[in-house]
């Protein structure tokens, strides 16, 4: 119980830290942008052709852009503390509303990608780990290294060219039915699978060489039973821990992949917000991504602790 409480307390602090950093950075970004902010916001809202000094003035009053920097900073952080992310400078809609809409699409993509990667990576890794040093093990090492070395935007383009353009199996981009999900999810999953295959392989090879494995065999269990009852347990903890780290990769990947495939998720929204200098949206998306990362890692910590309750001593 104490472990769970300590984890929660630590993660809450971390969440507060994330919010603080995102808030300060967003505010500084807001201030550091060149040109007249009011005018640019007006241009973004109504189009460059329609933007005029009057409209800019209206925006200035609406957003209270004339107050001193300290006052503005105080306001900014106070809003953040109330979880009031304000309105998008582009659409004028509340940031929460926009994010809630996009987050669903992103979570769908991320979950499918993660599930796909777990179907591909760990089984290959386990197979290689059971025959460590064999031909398959070495081939997997090369394949995994190559796959990890390819940047996601390149991998995505290769998949588009091969599967969508040449073979015409799948749509290259868009959002709607399930066929639109396959390419972006696969792009994300291949990178993740390459890494989790290596982790599963190392954990499995270590277990296969351990006295615990030998004893499980001499107790009379078959290879399948040893793997099912002891092997999976042994690799679950390192694999889950690594999954926590992979969320960073996933968040990064979501931004790139959603943009390539036109997937209307939070990464896509982040890029658009950056293009349009829509700082409240940048702040909102960064905050949600950061906090989800903290939340998922908390869950992982607790799950790993359940599988492997040994006290970790420095």
């Amino acid at each position: 119980m104490t472990f769970a409480l300590r984890t929660l307390a630590f993660r809450l602090l971390q969440a507060a830290g994330v919010a603080l950093v995102v808030g300060v950075m967003s505010f500084l970004m807001m201030r550091a942008m060149p040109g007249d902010m009011a005018f640019r916001i007006a241009a973004a809202r109504y189009g460059y052709d329609l933007a005029s000094a009057d409209l800019a003035e209206a925006v200035r009053t609406e957003l209270n852009l004339d107050a001193g920097p300290l006052v503005l900073f105080g306001q900014w952080m106070a809003d953040l503390a109330r979880l009031d992310l304000g309105r998008s400078m582009v659409s004028g809609l509340p940031v929460w509303e926009e994010i809630a809409h996009q987050l669903g699409a992103s979570l769908q993509l991320a979950a499918v990608a993660l599930g796909l990667s777990l179907l591909i990576g760990p089984p290959l890794g386990i197979y290689a780990g059971l025959r460590a040093g064999g031909r398959f093990d070495r081939a997997l090492l090369v394949a995994a290294a190559a796959l990890r070395a390819v940047p996601q935007f390149l991998l995505g383009l290769v998949l588009i060219v091969v599967l969508a353009v040449q073979l015409r199996l799948l749509p290259a981009a868009g959002h709607g039915d399930i066929s639109h999900l396959v390419l972006p999810a696969l792009t994300l999953a291949l990178g993740l699978a390459a890494a989790s295959a290596r982790i599963a392989r190392d954990a499995m090879a270590a277990f296969a060489a351990s006295p615990a494995h030998a004893f499980a065999c001499t107790k009379g269990l078959s290879d399948g039973q040893v793997l099912l009852h002891h092997g999976l347990r042994a690799i679950a903890a390192p694999l889950l821990t690594y999954l926590g780290l992979q969320f960073v990769l996933l968040a990064e990947g979501v931004v790139v992949v959603e943009t390539i495939f036109g997937w209307p998720g939070i990464g896509h929204a982040l890029i658009h917000a950056v293009f349009h200098r829509d700082v409240p949206m940048v702040q909102g998306t960064a905050l949600v991504m950061g906090l989800s990362f903290v939340l998922l890692n908390t869950l992982i910590d607790l799950a790993v602790r359940r599988i492997d309750p040994r006290e970790v001593r420095a």
Binding site: C217, G220, L221, R233
Partner: protein
């Protein structure tokens, strides 16, 4: 009734034969014990019978388990017997048990999956209770004491219903109390079953009785009933092995108390703010040997290190102020770890001589005294035997004229014959030169045989 019959078992790697033909029969209710030091081929014999030889080693011969005929050259066939007909006791149970599974499940799964028992949970509970492990079912192996882990592993190994038990070095690294536990467990396995034990432990072999095979260099040099082999050995190697048992060592003359080199009052060592053992009072006079015994983890090594001044202590410790720092020396447990691996022993020794301005002429007589060939020094530490290396470590310490030598399990990694030689030399040199020693060991018989006084640490 014969449970297992092995005929002309050999082991080879390529063209080289590692194990000469050995035949043995396991009857029900009578133990068969293979005695020998490491490298004698005794573990190869067990592995050939079990079908667990490392890759690259090939066994040959005839093997019959119950009604089943097996080909040792094709070890895949043995797999089906594991757990069901042959129980294999793991050498180090606390490593062999799955650290991520509670005791109850490790046992119950064997009843479930191997013995196909309809009520595995109930059987596991009953077994745990029978071995005095009622509280261990809900615990993970790393929460158990060494003895409890041993009993749990024993139960799990035999839960598949095997009548034959094979134990390879079951007492390795155990202190005397735990050794008695293992003996009691193995005797249980003997009730109506067959037992093949591989060991270098004479006390265990004597306790098991039955038939003994003595192996040296891959050959059985002597075999016969335990009482006869252990009391009237015929082969010179068997005699050397028995003479090497600390119980048969000649007792050295007691060393009188004189002006002490160090005196401890209310002495203890703390870790994380807690004292490791109850406070001690003792003195150490020149030439005396102080033995420190106690269960593993109770602070034996910490006590010695604190006496040397390597660790902070609690209570009072007086060390003769006339003695220089270098007069307190230490002999480590694992000789190869105490030498730099990539330079020759002579180079290391030269550095020592230069650093402390020691006259080179002292080396030759010491080498002679320690029964070491001067040629050894031209080699690297990896190329000499453990016994020789420990004697070179002793030589290295003796060059500094130590008044107090702390030896931390100095012979626990050595074979019995080598251990006897090394310890005897240490004791003789201590008596000759007046060097006092503090010796830590898990072997009570050894400590009783050589020391002027034994301190038993009681953990708190």
């Amino acid at each position: 009734m014969t449970l297992l019959q092995a005929k002309d078992i050999t082991v080879r790697t390529g063209a080289e034969r590692l194990l000469d033909p050995v035949s043995l029969t396991l009857p029900a209710g009578r133990a068969v014990t293979v005695l020998g030091e490491s490298g004698s081929g005794k573990s190869l014999l067990a592995q050939a019978i079990l079908g667990t030889l490392p890759r690259g080693l090939v066994a040959d011969g005839e093997l019959r388990v119950g009604e089943t005929k097996l080909d040792p050259a094709r070890p895949q066939g043995s797999r089906a017997l594991w757990g069901r007909q042959i129980a294999v006791l793991p050498q180090e149970p606390w490593l062999a048990l799955d650290p991520l599974m509670t005791g109850h499940y490790q046992l119950a799964e064997v009843f479930d999956l191997v013995a196909a028992d309809p009520r595995p949970g109930r059987r596991a509970k009953a077994d745990l209770a029978e071995l005095g492990l009622e509280g261990a079912g809900g615990k993970y192996p790393w929460q158990l004491s060494g003895g409890m882990a041993q009993r749990l592993a024993f139960a799990a190994a035999r839960a598949g219903g095997a009548r034959i038990t094979v134990a390879d070095e079951p007492t390795k690294g155990l202190d005397s109390d735990r050794r008695d536990d293992v003996l009691a467990l193995l005797r249980r396995g003997l009730e109506g079953g067959g037992l093949l034990t591989i060991t270098h432990d004479l006390t265990l072999a004597a306790g098991l009785g039955g038939e003994i095979l003595v192996m040296q260099g891959g050959t059985v040099v002597e075999r016969g009933p335990a009482e006869r082999v252990l009391t009237a050995p015929e082969h010179p190697y068997t005699r050397a092995l028995i003479a090497a048992d600390p119980a048969h060592w000649p007792r050295p003359d007691p060393m009188p108390e004189t002006a002490p080199l160090l005196r401890a009052e209310g002495f203890t060592v703390a870790r994380d703010g807690r004292s490791l053992f109850a406070p001690l009072d003792f003195t150490l006079s020149p030439g005396q040997i102080l033995a420190v015994a106690g269960p593993s983890g109770c602070g034996k090594s910490s006590l010695g290190n604190a006496l040397l001044g390597l660790l902070p202590h609690q209570g009072r410790l007086w060390r003769d102020p006339a003695l220089p720092k270098l007069a307190f020396q230490k002999l480590w447990q694992d000789p190869p770890a105490a030498f730099p691996a990539r330079i020759t022993l002579a180079e290391g020794l030269d550095d020592l001589l230069a650093r402390h301005r020691i006259d080179r002429v002292r080396v030759a007589p010491l080498l002679d005294r320690l029964k070491l060939s001067p040629d050894l020094l031209a080699r690297r530490p990896g190329a000499v035997s453990g016994g020789e290396l420990q004697r070179i470590a002793l030589l290295r310490a003796l060059l500094l004229d130590p008044a107090v030598l702390f030896a931390d399990e100095p012979t626990s990694r050595l074979d019995p014959v080598t251990q006897a030689l090394t310890i005897r030399l240490m004791v003789e040199i201590g008596r000759e030169s007046g060097m006092a020693m503090v010796i830590v060991s898990h072997d009570h018989a050894l400590l009783e045989a050589i020391s002027d006084r034994v301190i038993r640490l009681t953990p708190i």
